[in-house]
């Protein structure tokens, strides 16, 4: 089994594309998203002012058509139509429009002589842990474990089946369970590299800290990795062609990428969906990772999500072993 796992690893690291997709891609993604959503305050808000009487008090003046277009395409957040009473036209579902309305109103009211009733002063803080990148890194870690588990296992199994290598192994005294376990073992070794690379990257570049213990983080990623390797085996247990298995993999992974709170919180989905979303292995893993990395939670408080992760892994592995096509 040691030799099997060793071969698995050699085959993997001699495949430069695979190495990039497993290790490089999440880091590139974290870098790009980290840059795009870095905390620069609320950002500049573009406010348009429709031409009309009394517009001289205001800076950028747009003709009516351009103003409407700008509002519709989101280039401006708020359209101010001057007059005896000022009209703010904006989309109330857009966060930045709401902000723009408050700011513009504030400025205009003060300009007309409104006095603040209470003196206020701003005390700005940036707390690591509440930024988008802090939310993102655990999610990417979970997604990466999912991807490398399913791709890493699925493609090698189907390729071995296609090349009649599985059949050749069947012609030896090798134990079938050893073959399947070798995948999990080799995943474990790569797991260490994946976790260190991504967490280290987040820490160095964005100062994303791990609040909880590293042991807890390690334990959770191991469980997650086992679960996804099991899922990968299940996905690959019957497929005969690479094309076939690719379709299945996407079917398994795409919904989880979207639903499981990798890039944004799943609490945005309707309440009725949340229990189902929470039952997905990636959701449970992401929740556990965030609890440890952001909240510094102890493993003992994470019984439910970890039980979900383990259950997915164990059930998939057992089913995979039962229905596996060895030839």
């Amino acid at each position: 089994m040691y030799q099997l796992a060793l071969s698995r690893m050699r085959e993997f690291y001699r495949e430069p594309e695979a190495v990039f997709w497993v290790f490089g891609f999440p880091i590139v993604l974290a870098f790009a998203l980290g840059l795009a959503f870095r905390n620069t305050g609320p950002g500049k808000l573009q406010v348009g002012v429709a031409g009309g009487p009394g517009d001289s008090a205001l800076a950028a003046v747009l003709d009516t058509a351009t103003a409407r277009l700008g509002l519709r395409t989101g280039r401006i957040a708020l359209l101010v139509i001057p007059g005896d009473s000022i009209v703010y036209r904006y989309d109330s579902t857009r966060t930045e429009s709401g902000l723009a309305r408050l700011e513009v109103d504030d400025v205009l009211q003060r300009a007309r002589g409104r006095k603040d009733l209470v003196a206020v002063s701003d005390d700005r803080v940036v707390a690591p842990g509440s930024r988008y990148i802090d939310f993102l890194i655990p999610g990417l870690l979970g997604m990466n474990l999912l991807g490398s588990g399913i791709w890493g296992v699925g493609f090698s199994v189907v390729q071995a089946r296609q090349r009649k290598l599985l059949k050749r192994y069947m012609a030896t005294p090798m134990r079938r369970s050893h073959y399947l376990l070798s995948f999990i073992l080799s995943r474990l070794v790569f797991l260490i590299v994946e976790v260190v690379a991504l967490v280290g990257f987040g820490w160095l570049l964005f100062g994303v800290a791990v609040r909880g213990s590293f042991a807890a983080l390690g334990g959770i990623t191991v469980l997650g990795s086992f679960a996804f390797a099991g899922l990968g085996l299940l996905v690959a247990s019957r497929a005969k062609t690479i094309e076939g298995v690719s379709g299945l993999m996407n079917l398994v992974m795409l919904p989880m990428w979207i639903l499981s709170g990798t890039f944004f919180s799943y609490s945005r989905f309707p309440d009725a969906m949340i229990p189902y979303v929470k039952a997905l292995p990636l959701t449970a893993l992401n929740d556990a990772l965030r609890a440890v990395m952001i909240d510094g939670a102890a493993v003992t408080t994470l019984g439910t999500p970890l039980a979900i992760v383990v259950a997915w892994g164990a059930v998939s592995f057992v089913i995979a072993l039962k229905i596996f096509r060895w030839r």
Partner: protein
């Protein structure tokens, strides 16, 4: 159903060949014997034991060496890594260095599988079968698609294995290979065994030791001439092929001059005339009426 009603026995220490055109059922047969395909009915005993699941099956596999027809080993591994992997499946085995010497791949030990030539890949596949020090070696079309030199190298490996006391069961569609390597052969066609015996016995069953092929320049040969040929001394069989006529003859030195005299007398011009010693190919043609290579 790919094969039916097969009954064959391979004795310890011999080299037995399953011979037949593509699609005759050779691979199905050998995979049933290897315990990879369960037979619908019937009994298989290997080294005196039937196939069983679990520990008994694994114990039997310890004693076998198997090369499959279509296996492609992992491209990215080196030769010695592949052998180390296969070696790890067995309780007792050759060292990697020993088995590399057996198949003469020493100088390729650190080459990746993807860089090997066809012949080298095939020798590596055979090395994976030999690494377990098997008592019985199964080879499924070991030399198909190889150049003559690679083929001879593989024959040499098989001969050495036999010289050390091993038993071999191989399939091939090269009659020449079977004649050279095998003590006994079974000829298969359409999933059945149509003849079985030593190559010598099978050739002798033709009742003649030479085959004469000839073709006239134009037109066919009159039907009455065929009848005359059949009656000619030394001729045991006459077969009309698509591109000529083929005679099976006992005494070439008498039959050939007589044939030429007859053709001259009838004014038939020849575009082709060849003779050869009777081979297993001719046995196959005699049994099925088809050329082995046409199928």
């Amino acid at each position: 159903m790919a094969v039916a009603g097969l009954d064959l026995t391979v004795a310890a220490g011999e080299c037995f060949g399953l011979l037949g055109p593509n699609g005759a059922g050779k691979t199905t047969t050998i995979e049933i014997l290897e315990g990879l395909t369960p037979p619908d009915t019937g009994d298989v005993e290997i080294l005196g034991t039937p196939w069983r699941d679990g520990a008994a099956g694994r114990a039997l596999r310890e004693r076998l060496g198997i090369q499959l027809q279509e296996t492609q080993l992992a491209d990215k591994l080196t030769v010695s890594e592949v052998l180390a992997l296969f070696r790890s499946f067995y309780r007792q085995s050759h060292t990697v260095a020993e088995v590399l010497a057996l198949v003469e791949l020493d100088e390729k030990r650190n080459a990746r599988v993807v860089t090997l030539s066809g012949g080298q890949k095939q020798r590596l596949a055979v090395a994976c079968a030999l690494v377990s020090k098997p008592e019985l070696l199964f080879l499924d079309e070991p030399t198909t698609g190889l150049d003559p030199q690679s083929r001879r190298q593989l024959w040499e490996i098989i001969r050495r294995f036999r010289a050390a006391g091993g038993t071999v069961l191989l399939t091939t569609h090269y009659m020449e290979e079977a004649e050279r390597l095998c003590d006994r052969v079974a000829i298969m066609d359409h999933g059945k065994i149509i003849a079985q015996g030593t190559p010598k016995e099978l050739i002798a069953s033709l009742g003649a030791d030479h085959v004469v092929d000839f073709a006239p320049t134009e037109g066919g040969i009159p039907a009455d001439l065929v009848e005359v040929l059949r009656q000619m001394g030394g001729v045991t069989a006459v077969r009309m092929g698509s591109d000529g006529i083929s005679l099976t003859v006992v005494e070439l030195h008498r039959a050939l001059p007589a044939l030429l005299a007859l053709l001259k007398e009838r004014g038939v011009e020849l575009s082709l005339l060849t003779t050869h010693h009777a081979t297993l190919d001719d046995v196959f043609v005699a049994l099925t009426g088809r050329q082995l290579r046409d199928t």
